[in-house]
Symmetry: D2
């Protein structure tokens, strides 16, 4: 069986999540490739050494050596957003497959360059959008695609959390444009990717971006905040449906509220990621009064659930979505590109939409995509 | 005690709801006035006679006699929308107080004339927006006004039902502009009035109106539909908050989904009229992990609930909201204008917003109010 | 049309609820009889006078005169529990129809005498169990009876509130056996009647009664409490099903938690009266994973809902259940006994079960019914 | 760091779950011991070989060799229930630590012998009750222990699923007493362990066991079923609280409904494992009407959640509970016995309660524990 040498850059939360997901994918699935944990890089060399030992990587090194290491065939990038571009470009230049956390880059120009470079390099390329790996979201997409809801007419998408809800919450990298800060970049990209995953192309949009808290505490004083705290967007889909999309990191009580409602001529489907093992489905045409919303539960009728658990109602967790993403990536490396996954082209589409939202908000007008 | 002679025009669902609400208000509350059921009018004279007998009105007559009957001091109008204007104007000309079902009129010009005439006449004037009488909505308004949620930053308002959800549903008066048809006029007016009730003035908006089903069965053929099936709107409030507002009569499974979410710097509050005895409130600043959304239940701590039931959790129904609206009107007739109620000025504000939404959608641009 | 003279005894919460329900029944339904509000009695004569005026009764008097008043054909009794027996017996002796609030009496002996006297008198007799008038509960019964759930195998019934949840809550009449005090008499009777309404006869039971708070504040000191705070019961139904029944007035947060779950070979049905316009239904045999619990909403497909409102999702309230009970009673007076209602025989069955629960708990053994 | 040689017996669902959990524990936690995957045994030797390779075990062998292998210090047993006893006894005789899936054994006599042998051997011993590892259940126990709910007065525990809900579901080992079949053994043991985890000792109980479907399809015919389909139990706790406990594998729509409600003098707490990242808490004494049930979400304020994810609302899944159990076991092997875990003594208490339930049901009487 072909062996894949993995090089991982970054040892923060997402670095660890990647390391664990590779291990878990290997122990959970019958993978088409064998994994070799080749190299781990981190700006902090001592930390890189320690984590390499803990997570089973053969060596620790700096990122430049890693991307050029012949033992490395896949480079996983989990560093701060502004480093995605140079690292990805270097890895692609060295002919490596790349798995880069979202967002692809800090500017659309960089993202475009990354997408084009990946296409030229002809290597497997993936962006980290693991929420889409939820078997319940794949079911949702199938229900929509199969016509279970009829023709789609309406949509509402939202991703809200509350970690910046306190106006006295300190200034951080999340508040800087150069770090891809702002609720739109941080949370909005997820709901944009989900929206496309479910309903396909957006034809036009009109957006309102808002900085509710214009300055935040910083180094004993106050610092001006330039990014958005919340975004509200009108959507027109290529398929004719209309709707809204919102994102906020101010919404108290919402901890992981990636949510949607899709309405069609024959039914309605809703989801809230705070209950990621559930969907609510209404199908029209039942006996009057006997036709309410049904709460669907995740279970082994869904293959990606069955891989983890043979009994219904036992629930998958967040980390298993990351494991599913890694598995999809490894299948793609073995030539099977059929599993759900976000490649650079698709990640670029999300960045382009975010850009269009900023443009629409700045100019207060509709933007055609 | 002063006696008020009531003249009711219309005997359909809303006519009956008015008649019952006057009776129920009299038996439920210690009213400051005594009711006399003076006259009932309907285009169908025989039906007027029968209903007058059933509902305890002294006589049946045509509407012109009714508005000029000296025994009538208050005219309640529950006829089709396009008749609101002539009937109201006639009643005001005769110096009567008027209680007119929403929408005030079919055009903003008519609504403006009605508002101005009422002001000139100096009589009590009310529009039928009984949903706002829900004690839980009054509590919501108080919570917002008192700062329980902090400074308001975000809002989502929606009123969706599904009674036009079937594309084969027939053409009806609801599909005609001249009858104040369309989801925006029919359902949107409610969520607009609720939005103003909670958060006050809207400063600017940008809207998208959509006719999903451009023709509907009519007399054996198909007839072109000109009104909107759904509306999506970006909102900027005078108080600085941002948000969205949506309405649809296509949304399968939603039977009475007048809903909102208000987000502030200290908390979040949500409501869905399909559970009209509940609110969900999140207050920030609790012990980490002990601070989830609370489900508040209606109960006798709310005076307007206590009037109907001394025990919590027993629930009010839709009809009691109408009774509360009538009571507020009768108090106003006795000089106590402090109870929640929508007068012509406020109803005109709603019509003006609907007009702005139509303008914004037509011209695809933001509209300042 | 036949006229029925109503005599009402009692002017407390239930007295007022009766008065309003008679008025509302008359204005809501096309009744087969005409109501005459003949007489109102209360121990407090001045209060009786005042309420008679407010509620439209022709005269106020003492209860003995009322039950013997030739103008009175139906006696409605809403006095404290221990007075139900003498008043009912006097009314029956005078040949009147009787509508007595639950519980029928303070002892099973009295209840038996009342039931027998009513049978001998051959008059219409009803006990106040208005919760059963909820159209959603009638739907539940129909679903069960029609085999929608298959053969019934399991049951859970509960009625919990929290109004005695504070151990420092004062001693009251509810704590006295002679007043039919205790959670079992007060709340348990409702869930017993509901259980029989849904599943019919109970064949055997085994119960545990518990006085959690053995003394409560009274007149500056503490007074010993002899009644039960909570009851837990094992049930075996005549139809073979098994289950549990519980009642408590200590359960903090439960305001009107009359709830059940019925499980059969083809489905499961649940209800919670804190959302009295909803049922949750699961039907087995659907596509795997597409077969979750459905939330059914009340609506005009149910005739008893349609009588109040033509649109779904608008919700009935507690008071409308009382109106439906009065309507059923008035229909029975006109010879139509087909509507849901609890007569003295059925109310006696409930009392007998409560007695069996007490016996089982006292002797710590199963009791066959 | 001390190395622990792991021997795993069984390669079915639970065998794989154990293997993965050991791997995941090693990659997730900083363990106090180093794991060596020493040996894997299965009755099917070829399968043992294959799984040993897949899961990283050094060798495959038969179970007798495994328990006597000097390289094995911990024996994990995931075989059919009737094999738990001989394997555990052999492992203990060889001085190994034992981690045995629940139920401990098929009879109380065997369970007693296992508990006593483990005590004599002085080795770490654990039974597989991973549900109790849910951080939300640990929080629930803390809330109860800390007095957040006041003095506990009432309890309801349940574990229901529906995998035997179809009367035509075939006879299987789950239907045989000698295999520890029956809903009580299979599901009831979980809710018994949970009940003790939350509220401690049960002083007395009275139970009803029921075989709803007395025969099931088997080899073309019907075979008599002797075990229970559902159990209902009255409970009296040593702390004075009262309540009920139920279990059923017939309850359609319930997929993993391990649920409880605990009621105290100051609050109420509820849980349903179908939403294992949530608790609902009501605390008395708030402002009237502002004091509803709160939905608490799992998050990084709980250390056992933080180990997997730094952000709230992202949810743990079933498999992570198993990982937590393995971690607790490995800590115990390193001398730290403070983490939640069910040892043989506690598992025996559960078996004893199950035995008492059978006795109570058979003899139709209360049983003191």
């Amino acid at each position: 069986m072909r062996e894949i040498g993995i090089g991982l850059i970054g040892t923060g939360f997402m670095g660890r999540a990647h390391a664990l997901a590779f291990h878990h994918a290997a122990s959970t699935f019958e993978l088409p490739v064998k994994l070799r944990f080749a190299a781990l890089a981190d700006a902090d060399a001592a930390r890189a050494e320690r984590c390499a030992a803990d997570w089973g990587f053969a060596r620790a090194c700096d990122w430049e050596s890693l991307v050029n290491d012949p033992a490395v065939e896949l480079v996983a990038i989990t560093t701060p957003n502004r480093l995605h571009y140079p690292m990805t470009m270097a890895a692609l230049a060295a002919g490596k497959a790349v798995y880069c956390e979202k967002p692809l880059a800090v500017t659309l120009e960089e993202a475009t360059a990354m997408r084009d470079a990946a296409k030229r390099a002809g290597v497997v390329n993936r962006a980290g959008y693991n929420y889409l790996q939820n078997p319940m979201l794949k079911l949702a997409r199938e229900l929509i695609a199969s016509g279970e809801l009829g023709e789609i007419t309406g949509y509402r998408g939202e991703f809200s959390e509350d970690f910046m809800g306190d106006p006295q919450g300190p200034f951080s990298w999340r508040c800087e444009t150069e770090q891809a800060g702002g609720a739109l970049a941080d949370l909005g990209s997820h709901v944009l990717s989900l929206t496309r995953f479910l309903l396909g192309d957006i034809a036009a949009l009109c957006a309102d971006l808002h900085t509710a808290h214009a300055q935040r505490p910083h180094q004993g004083g106050l610092r001006r905040v330039e990014i958005d705290d919340q975004a509200h967007v009108l959507l027109r889909f290529a398929n004719g449906a209309r709707g809204t999309l919102s994102t906020s990191w101010l919404k108290h009580g919402r901890k992981n509220h990636l949510a949607f409602e899709v309405c069609g001529t024959r039914g309605t489907l809703t989801y809230d990621q705070e209950r990621l093992n559930e969907l609510r489905l209404y199908t029209a045409g039942g006996r009057p009064g006997m036709d309410g919303f049904r709460t669907l539960l995740s279970g082994p009728h869904l293959p990606d659930y069955a891989a983890f658990c043979p009994a219904g109602g036992h629930q998958l967790g967040y980390n298993e979505l990351k494991t599913l993403e890694v598995r999809s990536l490894l299948e793609a490396l073995a030539g099977n590109g059929s599993l759900t996954g976000v490649d650079f082209q698709e990640a670029w589409e999300v960045e382009r939409l975010a850009q269009a939202i900023r443009e629409s908000a700045r100019e207060e007008r509709w933007v055609r995509i």
